[in-house]
Amino acid sequence: MTVKHHPDISTLMAFSAGTLDEPYTTVIATHLAMSEQGREIMHRLNAIGGALLESEPEAEIKEGAVDRLLGSLTGEGVQPLPHREPASVPAPLRPYLPLGLEGVRWKWTGPGVAAADLAVGKDGKSRLMLMRVAGGRSVPEHSHGGQELTLILRGAYRDRFGVFEVGDISDHDEDVEHQPIAEPGEDCICLVAVNAPLSFRSRLVRALQPLFGL
């Protein structure tokens, strides 16, 4: 698959530094699993950490630390390369979807739109969720209180930034407004990380928001 829409480079840098919350980490990791070009960029970004590590001052290491290390190798071989079966859900997403996309328990959130929260650790303030939009249907126009990362898992949608297809990611900051419309045909399923409730333009939708869990 050819991915056309990539995450912002600053988002990829945060992933490489290891500072993203679990939901964002999962969306980026899943995107990278689907994008060879993305993995190539990540490979390069990691070299920033490598170069910084080389420039670190040397902290004093406890005496005998090397012996302790070699001592704990007893019986510990170098692991052989792992083999993974290909699966319908990319590896980084599998722990959240043990039953695959078919096993998701959707919650109706509006005409043609359903969502499902995925369980993440409690310490973060952000959410990881799936959204399913029926072909030709739209998500009400909204902006974000924080960063919104959306990865297309199935189908496609279109908004004022273009057409987003499987593997594509949209990386929006707060104050970006958009109204995604699923392309005609199959349902569009997206993996979304958000760190604040969406803010809808329509007062009616805003009033209903708590009901729908958005």
């Binding site: 899943t30 070299a47 910084l52 670190e56 902290a59 290390l69 650790g121």
Partner: protein
């Protein structure tokens, strides 16, 4: 905080003192021959630097020591994975230390970084075919990092070394979140020519 971030810019001793020990070769020796002496040498090269990074996260000395031990145990176990990857040993050790601190300090419930590391394993590339030049590329990246503007260096270090999310960097430095991101983007553009030489 500004002063702290700036003060750890002075670097340690040069990594490869007199005759060049190539850390990539050490890793290959571990992967192919389970060479314990190669692991000890690698530990002497990088252990103190990994510990310095861990200490900057505010861990106690004892925990930092433990994390260094864990890092090199992982290096030992996963050395076979490195040999079919590309890039410099320091980059790989950085990612191992990063994954470990995420697991240990933040206790994330899954291992997306491990999943990705296993993804690029397809290759039939002969072990050792990519060696020497990669550590030179890293040297050039390190030099370029030192030539970034102080503002750009600060956000890069706070992110990669001090492990701060962008929103927290914004608070610490006293700039808007958008400025943190734009400084990182500019830093990337400056480093890009060097990074693109990586295999």
């Amino acid at each position: 905080m500004y002063a702290v971030a700036m003060s750890d810019q002075q670097s340690g001793q040069p990594l490869y003192p007199s005759e060049a020990i190539n850390p990539n070769e050490l890793l290959v020796r571990i992967a192919e021959n389970q060479d314990r002496m190669a692991l000890a040498e690698l530990f002497n090269l990088f252990g103190p630097r990994v510990k310095s990074m861990m200490l900057k996260l505010g861990t106690s000395d004892a925990l930092a020591e433990d994390l260094v031990q864990e890092t090199f145990l992982s290096v030992w176990r996963k050395a076979a994975l490195f040999s079919s990857q590309r890039g410099a040993a320091s980059t790989w050790i950085f990612t191992i230390a990063r994954n470990l601190r995420i697991d240990q300090l933040r206790r994330q419930s899954n291992k997306p970084y491990d999943d990705l590391a296993e993804m690029d394993l397809a290759s039939d590339m002969p072990i050792g075919s990519f060696l020497v030049e990669q550590s030179q590329v890293i040297d050039r990246v390190a030099a370029a990092l030192k030539n970034l503007s102080p503002e750009q260096q600060e956000v890069v270090r706070l992110s990669f070394i001090h492990d701060l999310p962008h929103a927290e960097i914004a608070v610490r430095v006293g700039i808007p979140l958008g400025t943190v991101k734009s400084r990182l983007r500019l830093a990337y553009e400056r480093l890009r020519p060097m990074l693109e030489d990586l295999q």
